[in-house]
Amino acid sequence: MTQDDAGGSAPALRADRLGRRYGHVWGLRGCTLEVPAGAIAGLVGPNGAGKTTLLEMIIGLLEPTEGQVSVFGVTSRSHVAARLARVGYVAQDHPLYRDFSVADMFRLGRAMNPSWDQGLAQARMGALGIPLKRKVKTLSGGQRAQVSLTMALAKRAPLLVLDEPVSSLDPVARLEFMREVMASAADTGLTVVIASHVVSELERLCDWLIVLTGGRVQVAGPVDDLLAGHRLLTVPRATPDAELPGLPIHRTDSDRHSAVVVRADLALLAAHQRPGWQADPVGFEQLVMAYLQRRPQTAAADDTVPAAARPGLAAKEVTR
């Protein structure tokens, strides 16, 4: 798996038991996942969950402590330059040189990236009405974000990594930023990884989901499969977890009944029809919130029990 796979078959992103330790604390550990080319992946997790650690290892800003990450088949330790050319990155705070003009920033981009597309950069600024001679410090937050995005897109990299790109923007600037990202993805088949806190906005943006809490991947996979593989069960309150047709992710107990989001075994579910039980489909936000609120001990137990030992588990989206 360490061999470079330069063919078109390599996933856009692959992490294999990836981990990063800061002193005694693991910022991220045991992270195994894959994002296929052309996907738009949402990366969700609370602050400190390891999102930025993961992203910085993807873009090569941070070396893994263990495991490895590859971008279109190019692994971390080898070929750093080759890998960097494949990733465009927009950081949270849109770092640009304040005293530079937009044209200066583009000159810098051209000097640093052999594949720089000056025509694309200028055309985008024209379409957005941002004059090239304007100094960065005189631009609005939304305009600065657009310049950062343009810097990343003009690299012509097939993977675009966005770390909380819109958290500092007002709603209109956010929408405009994401419109540009989605139009670019439609245009070029770009693979995108977006870290975001705004779960409600992610549903329309991503077709792939990665939920990270406490430095661990809670769930990762195609959104459609994940939604199809989970149910919201309404059961009598006394029902123990072990009797549920699937792996309980999050449980809300009322006086007489409990609502449980389960990773369902659909065959088991069909055989489990009992009076007073109800199984409803889950929505995107509900699914994400269930994993974000999942109790850590559940997650730990999940890590130590082999998938095959748990009857309720749909095994395809867990680590391989």
């Binding site: 052309g38 419109r179 989605m182 139009a183 993805a185 439609a186 245009d187 409600s200 329309r204 943006l205």
Partner: protein, 129 residues
């Protein structure tokens, strides 16, 4: 050009919202056979929505026989959806009015009627799946 909209709070998956809008517009006559739908890029850039979602919606419309792609030209409406003839409407409406009167006589208020209809439709949809 036809333009889609998206309601983030509706709970309906985005691709289904797009499909519903085309169906509804066909029923209301806002869309007609031969009309061109916006390109995937246009919809993605307009709504800030995942282009794969648009592709999925267009595939569904094609599957339903409502639209079709012409290579190099785009996606076009290929069918008309018309409401059932007015006579059928009148019959259904008369039956509905009878039912609503019966519901009122049984003590159901507007809210209860709406809830009952929603539950019944929900269950019927489930049976179909």
């Amino acid at each position: 050009m036809f333009r889609f909209r998206l309601d983030g709070a509706s709970g309906v998956p985005p691709y289904l919202q797009l499909v519903h809008q085309v169906r509804q517009s066909l029923l209301l006559g806002y869309l007609q056979e031969g009309d061109r739908l916006p390109t995937v890029k246009e919809v993605a850039g307009d709504l800030a929505i995942n282009p794969n979602t648009v592709v999925k919606a267009y595939r569904q419309l094609e599957h339903e026989g409502l639209s079709g792609g012409r290579p190099g030209q785009g996606t076009f409406i290929t069918s008309t959806l018309s409401l059932p003839p007015p006579e059928a409407h009148q019959v259904l409406r008369a039956a509905l009015e009878r039912w609503l009167r019966a519901a009122g006589a049984a003590g159901l208020n507007d809210e209860a009627v709406t809830a009952l209809i929603a539950v019944a439709r929900h269950d019927m949809r489930k049976e179909r799946v």
